[in-house]
């Protein structure tokens, strides 16, 4: 952690500040690559070889008053910009996260946290195209994680002023003044054994509300989302189950009910296997219920991880078409730095 005497503004503003400035230290680069070979039954796929290339720039420092600051600038594959987040740690108060639209804030961080050895049941290359809870995380978000809570309880409250279309607004700019979604808030709670006394058990829940303007012709009210779930680790096993619900606040599809569960087993220090399931029930239009079932295995070998996933998806995208039933196998070699 770097101790600062003054915080410079040159890097932020591009101007010549009257106050001399020093840097908080160097940005470090972390990231990795993930090579995959993907085969899909009954599909023409062309090139089955894919290479991921995510990386992020990270920095941290400390102010004179003891507050901590941390910066993260994230890029996704092919150098595409993802998001920027800044975390300010205030002793006695908690952490304040300013996020430009990363998907890991608010209730979205709990959209599917059932146990897995690699990816979510529908996240290893073949998606079931399930509508999942997102809260206000699509917009720029301020999230507070207070310290003044009982031991073993983690609470987070997130707020966004505009839950759509304003996630990548630069400094000195505004955005997202169109669209149906308005302000939104998310609340999540996670409890470990330090609170409830049962070792290995984690329970969690969350809720979110996003204002929706009536200028959308299909709008009938605000969007509301809920989630609850539990994970339990004993020996080499970890099991988990969760339910989530979204009341869309629009005509047509009025509600989604999602269920996810998974189990993993650590065979040894290097090898783990897992099974995951996710499904979604739609209300309002009588659409089919998509689901995904995935068996996966992961093997770590020094600096690399080999993964294999066998994925089966039915009714992809809430469709009844025969082409919406898909199967895929993905082999992956991942390197992380």
């Amino acid at each position: 952690m770097n101790k600062l005497n003054k915080i410079g503004v040159s890097a932020l503003c591009g101007s010549l500040a009257a106050i001399s400035a020093v840097n908080a230290g160097e940005l470090t680069v972390t990231g990795g690559a993930d090579m995959t070979w993907m085969s899909q039954d009954d599909s023409v796929t062309g090139n089955p070889l894919g290479i991921g290339s995510n990386y992020g720039l990270s920095g941290s420092g400390e102010l004179d008053n003891g507050w901590s600051v941390a910066l993260s600038i994230a890029m996704t594959n092919a150098n595409a910009y993802s998001n920027t987040s800044i975390t300010v740690g205030v002793p006695g108060v908690g952490d304040i996260l300013f996020n430009q639209g990363g998907s890991g804030t608010g209730i979205q961080r709990l959209d599917d946290v059932t146990p897995t050895v690699w990816e979510e049941a529908d996240g290893a290359g073949l998606s079931a195209t399930i509508n999942k809870i997102s809260g206000g995380s699509a917009g720029a978000t301020i999230e507070i994680k207070p310290e003044a809570v009982p031991d073993g309880l983690t609470a987070r409250f997130a707020y966004t002023a505009d839950a759509d279309g304003s996630s990548s607004t630069s400094d000195k700019g505004t955005g997202g003044d169109s669209g149906v979604a308005g302000a939104g808030w998310d609340l999540t709670l996670e409890a470990s054994d330090a609170l409830h006394g049962m070792a290995g058990l984690t329970v969690y829940a969350g809720m979110a509300n996003v204002d929706q303007y009536a200028n959308g012709a299909a709008t009938t009210g605000d969007r509301e989302e809920y989630v609850w779930g539990a994970k339990y680790a004993i020996g080499g096993f970890t099991v988990g189950y969760q339910k989530s619900n979204e009341e869309t606040g629009v005509t047509g599809t009025t509600e989604y009910d999602n269920t996810a569960y998974g189990i993993t087993f650590n065979v040894n220090d290097n090898l783990s296997i897992g099974y995951g399931h996710v499904e979604s029930d739609e209300s309002g239009q009588g659409l089919e219920s998509p689901e995904a079932n995935t068996f996966s295995a992961a093997y770590t070998m020094g600096g690399a991880t080999f993964r294999i996933a066998d994925i089966s998806v039915d009714n992809q995208g809430y469709s009844a078409a025969t082409t919406a039933d898909l199967d895929s196998r993905v082999v992956s070699l991942g390197l992380a730095f």
Binding site: T28, T30, A33, N47, D269, A298, G302
Partner: protein
Amino acid sequence: MNKLTKVGCSALCGSLAAIASANAGTLSVTGGADMTWISNGTAVTGNPLGMGSNYTLNGAGELDNGWAFSLAIANGNLRAYSATVINLDMGMLGSINFNSGNSGNGIAAIDDKMPTAWEETWGAGVSTGVRLPLGSGSSQNIQWKSPAYGDNGTYIALTHAHDYGSADINDKATGSTEGDSADSSTDIVLNINPSLGTEILSGLNIFGGASQIKANAVGATRDDIYEGVAGVTYDIGPLSLGAQWSADYTGIDAEHKGHASNVYNLYKAVAYGVAFNVNDDLSVSYGRWTARKAGKTSTTTSTTNAEIDVTSAQIAYTMGGASIRIADTDAEDVSWSDGNNQSATTISLGLAF
């Protein structure tokens, strides 16, 4: 080099892995800037000042069995994504290279190995339009490269692209379709340093490669494409000499696929170069690249627009972390356009980090 017992995938996957994980360390950044001033003879050029801004993220690690791996995520000028390359060195089993298509594998890696003080003859300020052998290198490919034989760098490399023309596909995804004109491609490259145990031949390097790009039965508008490269370089003291030949058959054959009767279907090129290190800091070079259309699908005998001739004289001076380079390049019949002659004098200041 970082030794790991476990590697996490949290940054890649966003999932909660059942097995605890650790990173191989941090990525390092290398790169630089290259400032150039180009004078294009009598041509109107507008702003002659250019600036390059490439950088690459690099990482390396080692598996439990001692195999080494490395990662490079390369970006070109203006932060434009270039390619991702992962290399797994398996010791005596050779190496496996996963490449998203940066033209660094297969015969693209030997498209021009002529000695030069700075850039290739066709790459120092004039856009010449010469055809270069690409093979599998510009597509997402996997390459196996044998371990170097002895101390002289002799090796063989096999490169395969499952879908020629498809590049930069993300993980857990597939790319392109089978409906285009090309299917898979395969390259073989052989590099030999036949010193024969003699000192005078220790600087001799012979290289060659071939590529086959299969035509797709779905898009059957042509035959298979064949490309080939062969050449030799020789270093003796401060002097480096080289010559190479390349050719590609485009697969367009009027007799078989009904193309227009006056389409060229064969291109050939010959190149040579000489470079001389005056001292540790100063080097000079001269190179020539001549490309010609060498085949037709009919008896049309026109010889216009059939040859591109490029010459470039270069000088480079290194000064600590900076290099100053000057290239004087002349090109005739640029882009196969008869009488389209261009010249350029390029001054460069390069900084590498």
